[in-house]
């Protein structure tokens, strides 16, 4: 099976560079696309070719389907890697790629459409036998409908946008008194953000952990998992620290969750690289939340414990190659931790704090990996996500990995006028007693912020 000749990378920042590196290792040529705000980006220089696709606003550049398709055609690319965010889970874009003879590196459009509808995804996974949090069978039809469900489920409940996902478009409701207002607000927000005001209701777990399973499925019905990641260190559903494997879980429960993940994905015809997200309660029961069909920001921790280059494998299955790994070939070793270094000010509610990087030297040395698009003299753009660097470390044990993460973060030299990063906050997380014990839940960050 032939790999691709030339891949257009329809993304920016660290993930664009990460994909370009994988392509180069596999002898695949690359096309970078960039907005005028990213004219000095590393990936623009790194790629074999580069095309300017529009002005800074994403909808006119990185989400500009016409510009990207035209760029692929003019450079004679045969596939498009969408990275994460932007167009990575857009079924329409995937379909247009196909119509233009381009391989979209992701799941088939109809599968993405089903999974993107969180209510339908719930239904499909229930049919596949995955455990779900009690809640609405389908999208709730009215305020009364929502009230009936909430009463049946018991408070607190969470109202989620059907078109949401990735932590966006959800509201926790603690009592019946708040319900009607929360319903109205969530619907309005969903309509504004997603153009789809359907919502559904689920039981809300207060002390849950957010655990996800990395899956990889080929186009021939084969599917494997690559173990778990714990992503409970979140602030308003935005992840700050992730680790693999999820700590302090019963191995049998983990095995069951991973089997569920693969079964669920295969049941809906999923192909490519994906993540099945679960909530895990205090009794270690797991509940399906959603499936993502993109490479995740936090994929390096899985790579470090499995030794598997996920982007390589993603390209292989996208090209039609059957899985190169059997389930028994995937052996997790040690512990990996990723720290997200964002240009945000934790002291001021994590507001973006971009600016010119006058000093920028990432950490290095044994078992440390840094994915970043930063360099000395780089100006962090206010137009995009504030993720500047991912510092990932590996060690044989969790305690050693956390020590190594602290060492690495202490080495990171970033300075510039106006530039503030999440590093000090991440250090607080790493030294938190509850976190050290591996017994943390999604409430951790809120507690640390309050301190």
């Amino acid at each position: 099976m032939e790999l691709f000749q030339k891949i257009l990378i329809a993304n920016r920042g660290e993930i664009a560079l990460r994909v370009a590196r994988a392509c180069r290792e596999l002898g695949v040529r690359t096309v970078a696309v960039y907005s005028t705000a990213d004219a000095d980006s590393v990936v623009r220089r790194y790629a074999d070719e580069a095309v300017c696709i529009g002005p800074p606003p994403p909808r006119r550049s990185y989400c500009n389907v016409a510009a990207i398709i035209e760029a692929a055609k003019m450079t004679e690319a045969d596939a498009i890697h969408p990275g994460y965010g932007f167009l990575s889970e857009d079924p329409d874009f995937a379909e247009i790629c196909a119509e233009n003879g381009l391989v979209f590196i992701g799941s088939p459009p109809n599968v993405m459409a089903s999974l993107g509808d969180k209510s339908m995804a719930r239904t499909l996974m229930r049919q596949a036998g995955l455990p779900l949090l009690t809640g609405s069978a389908d999208a709730a039809r009215s305020a009364a409908d929502v009230r009936d469900i909430a009463d049946a489920v018991g408070y607190p409940v969470i109202i989620k946008a059907v078109a949401g996902g990735g932590g966006r478009g959800m509201t926790v409701v603690w009592s019946a008194a708040e319900l009607s207002r929360a319903y109205t607000r969530t619907r309005a927000a969903a309509r504004a953000v997603f153009g789809d005001d359907r919502i559904y209701v689920e039981r809300f777990l207060e002390r849950a952990r957010h655990v996800e399973v990395q899956i990889l499925c080929d186009a021939h019905g084969g599917g494997i998992h690559l173990g778990t990641r714990d992503c409970s260190v979140q602030r308003r559903h935005q992840k700050l620290v992730e680790e693999a494997p999820a700590p302090e879980l019963d191995p049998d429960r983990v095995a069951e969750m991973c089997r569920d993940a693969v079964r669920g994905a295969l049941a809906v015809g999923f192909t490519g690289l994906g993540t099945v997200e679960f909530l895990v309660d205090e009794d270690q029961a797991h509940y399906f939340i959603e499936i993502n069909s993109r490479i995740q920001v936090e994929h390096p921790v899985t790579e470090m414990v499995t030794g598997c280059d996920l982007v390589h494998e993603q390209l292989y299955v996208a090209s039609g190659t059957p899985l190169r790994l059997r389930q028994e070939d995937v052996v997790a070793r040690g512990v990996a931790v990723e720290c997200r270094v964002n240009t945000e000010d934790p002291e001021r509610g994590f507001v973006p704090a971009p600016g010119l990087l006058e000093r920028f030297t990432p950490p290095a040395g044994p078992f440390v990996r840094v994915d970043t698009h930063g360099f000395p003299g780089y100006r962090v753009s206010p137009h995009y996500d504030s993720l500047l660097a991912k510092v990932s470390v590996w060690a044989p044990s969790r305690a050693e990995a956390l020590g190594r993460a602290e060492r690495a973060l202490a080495e990171f030299d970033i300075a510039g006028p106006g530039v503030v990063t999440t590093i000090p906050f991440i250090k607080k997380v790493l030294t938190d007693t509850e976190f050290r014990k591996g017994q943390y839940s999604t409430g951790l960050v809120e507690r640390l912020v309050a301190d």
Binding site: T36, A37, A39, D40, R45, E49, A50, V51, C52, I53, G54, P55, S61, V65, A66, A67, I69, E70, A71, K73, M74, L356, E358, G377, R379, G416, P417
Partner: protein
């Protein structure tokens, strides 16, 4: 695609100079009259406003605002944006590609090109067509004048903000 690495570097330096100027202005006490930052052979000059002459004021001010916009990389890049702008090269303005696609000189194969070098056009005139996703998008000039140069071949692919045509405006 078109910006050479020399330009990249220069912009990078400019960004730094800008920062230096700004920070000096921030950090230095008193009422400044002049800051000069130079990279050619690395010069910083700071001049304070002559106090006694406060009334006569700032004839000599290389105003901060001008410096900022000249040194601002974002500004430099944005100047490649859609439509016509003053080009560096004196008195021509450029029409750049407002979208990615294939540039055509004429409405259809064999037809008369919209413009030719030497032709006089008015503001708002169509200078070519960009085909993207099978849609034909006319490209118009914001400024009238004489067509000085056609920078892209017929049927050539263009990226966003690529210069298509140069026009010498009439004054």
């Amino acid at each position: 695609m078109r910006q050479g690495s020399g330009t990249d570097q220069r912009q990078h330096v400019l960004g730094c100079l800008h920062e230096h100027a700004r920070r000096l202005a921030d950090e230095l006490p008193g009422r400044l009259g002049r800051i000069r930052v130079c990279s050619g052979d690395v010069i910083i000059e700071v001049e304070w406003a002559p106090i006694a002459l406060a009334a006569a004021v700032p004839a000599q001010l290389e105003p901060a605002a001008a410096l900022v916009s000249a040194l601002e990389p974002a500004g430099a890049i944005d100047s490649r944006a859609i439509g016509s702008q003053d080009a560096d090269s004196g008195n021509t303005v450029v029409v750049s590609a407002p979208l990615v696609g294939t540039f055509y000189h004429a409405p259809e194969p064999g037809a008369e090109p919209y413009v030719a070098v030497g032709k006089v056009i008015e503001a708002g005139a169509t200078i070519g067509i960009i085909e993207a996703m099978k849609l034909l998008n006319p490209v118009t000039a914001d400024t009238g004048g004489t067509v000085a140069r056609i920078c892209v071949e017929n049927g050539e692919a263009v990226e966003f903000s690529q210069v298509l045509v140069e026009i010498t405006p009439h004054h």
